[in-house]
């Protein structure tokens, strides 16, 4: 509340002297890169829609039921991460169905979704919300819409590349790559974890690979062959 009522100094208005206690909480977790006072409309207009987006999503196997969302909000209520989201799961469902492609693909929500399926088992309309979130993540990655150095798409991408190549994952290599690509600071913050892993014999860099690792590439090609046509 404080956030929206405090006049923005950038707008040339007088700065209201704030009590010390007003300050710290303005920034919400994960928001450190956004200018706090930036004005953003909360209501969307017709013109913001990308026609056909909702239909495209609903055409994906498992996502058809979105059509029947009654906006009850159950999904937002049970979601353990909704307090960190910019749009709640219910809003994402509505925005997706109504073709607000940019709002959805740029939202933090799709990356925060931990795929816990709590919403999916509770939805009275049997909408597979988790699968829709997956589909939206895929779209965002495909279109390259995510902040630079944002760890989740990077992890997802590295993960898939490693599987394609070796057929299996070597977790430590994946983790180290992630830190290198995102931030050294995060790596430093986790030094204790690294030490614990070494101490308990879980720090292994030996690449895991299946014998028929060519099979994986062949299967992926077989899928792409169809997709391209």
């Amino acid at each position: 509340m404080v956030k929206s009522m405090t006049p923005s100094p950038a707008a040339g208005q007088e700065t209201v002297p704030t009590r010390a206690s007003d300050k710290p909480n303005v920034q919400r977790p994960g928001e450190d890169c956004l200018p706090v006072m930036k004005m953003r409309p909360t209501i969307k207009y017709e013109a913001d829609r990308v026609r056909g987006f909702g239909r495209e999503i609903m055409a994906v196997p498992g996502c058809e039921q979105l059509q029947s969302c009654i906006q009850c909000g159950t999904c937002s209520g049970v979601c353990p991460l909704s307090i960190y989201m910019d749009h709640t799961p219910r809003q994402v469902m509505a925005l997706t169905r109504a073709d607000f492609k940019n709002e959805v693909l740029r939202s933090r929500t799709i990356w925060l979704c931990a795929s816990c399926y709590a919403c999916t088992v509770e939805c009275p309309q049997k909408i597979r919300i988790t699968d829709i979130m997956y589909e939206l993540k895929q779209r965002a990655i495909l279109e390259g819409i995510y902040p630079k150095r944002f760890p989740i798409p990077i992890l997802a991408y590295d993960f898939s590349e490693m599987v394609k190549k070796n057929g299996r994952i070597t977790e430590m290599i994946l983790v180290i790559k992630l830190f290198l690509k995102t931030s050294w600071l995060a790596a430093l913050g986790n030094w204790r974890l690294g030490i614990d892993l070494m101490r308990t014999g879980r720090f292994s860099l030996k690449t895991e690979r299946i014998r028929q690792h060519g099979d994986i590439a062949r299967m992926m090609d077989a899928i792409d062959g169809k997709k391209g046509s």
Binding site: G30, L112, A114, T120, P151, R202, E208, K226
Partner: protein, 296 residues
């Protein structure tokens, strides 16, 4: 009883203590496990975010290999693998287009999947195939006095749970009671631990972990028992960060199979108990002596 065994990458990596304890426990119960030959990563959640079709095809290769092995049931101990293998199976049956793609991809590598192979979690096998009575008979050092918070996490009960209730699962509770432990009331037993968010968006992820640990502690648990390598990693590995952020919530997190091993009196060295960052020090004899074994 013989099953095909799909370990998944975690059980060979960060979660190796799970495999280390699972194998001797199953052997002790007379269950034969045959590791799926040349299995590949199941595709799991991160791949799902890149390409769902490909993730399902990856899973399908494992299912096809399982069929080829002639053992018609796969045991998947990692919650994420369990979910993805089941999901691929559901997609195979529910969506003809998906089935066609899977068929074509498998065909390219000379494999075939018919869509049968049940994918089962060790908890399911323990409770429904082996049975609580048979397990009770193997208990040599009851876990008397040990208070356990049973943590199921999300993915073995949602959305494809076939063997337990998605809202209030009880299989692990019953198992722990059979081992002589006391199960504390733990309402967060199926609340998500955040998965990989602990690493990718720690502000959000660590808070979920903190809530889980804090609640278990409040309920008086001596340890949390888990069924998933990622849950174990999350609940066990981040105590340093948690402490500086929220205060001390130190509590050991063990695999349910490690507790089974202890109760069966298996040699501790074989249970991977030294793999956890927070050591689990409680031992059956520490609290209450086991009923004196009848020896000559």
């Amino acid at each position: 009883m013989k099953y095909s065994y799909f370990p998944g990458c975690s059980l060979k990596g960060l979660g190796r203590a799970y495999e280390e304890s699972l194998l001797p426990v199953m052997e002790h119960l007379g269950v034969e496990l045959q590791e799926l030959d040349d299995w590949n990563c199941c595709g799991a959640t991160a791949y799902m975010a890149v390409d769902e079709v490909k993730a399902c095809v990856l899973a399908a290769r494992n299912l096809a290999l399982a069929e080829k092995s002639g053992l018609n049931q796969v045991m998947a101990p990692c919650a994420a693998c369990y979910l993805v293998l089941n999901k691929a199976k559901h997609y195979f049956h529910d969506f003809p287009a998906m089935k066609a793609t899977m068929d074509r991809a498998l065909d390219a590598v000379g494999l075939h999947y018919s869509g049968d192979t049940p994918v089962r979690h060790p908890l399911d096998i323990l409770l429904n195939d082996i049975g609580i009575e048979a397990i009770k008979q193997k208990v040599e050092k009851p876990l008397k006095g040990l208070k356990v918070a049973t943590y199921y996490g999300c993915q073995i009960v949602r959305p494809y749970a076939t063997f337990d209730d998605p809202y209030n699962p009880t299989t692990m509770d019953r198992l722990m009671e059979a081992l002589g432990a006391t199960v504390v009331h733990y309402p967060l037993k199926t609340k998500c631990c955040g998965g990989s968010l602990t690493g990718t968006l720690p502000d959000a992820g660590l808070r979920l972990v903190y809530i889980l640990l804090c609640e278990a502690k409040k309920r008086g648990a001596d340890c949390i028992a888990t069924v998933c390598p990622l849950c174990q990693f999350n609940l066990d590995g981040y105590h340093a960060q948690l402490e500086s952020k929220y205060g001390d919530v130190m509590l050991p997190t063990v695999y349910f199979t490690q507790l089974m091993g202890l109760a069966f009196g298996l040699p501790e060295k074989r249970l991977g108990l030294n793999r956890a960052a927070v050591p689990f020090k409680w031992r059956p004899s520490d609290a209450a002596p086991a009923p004196a074994p009848v020896t000559a």
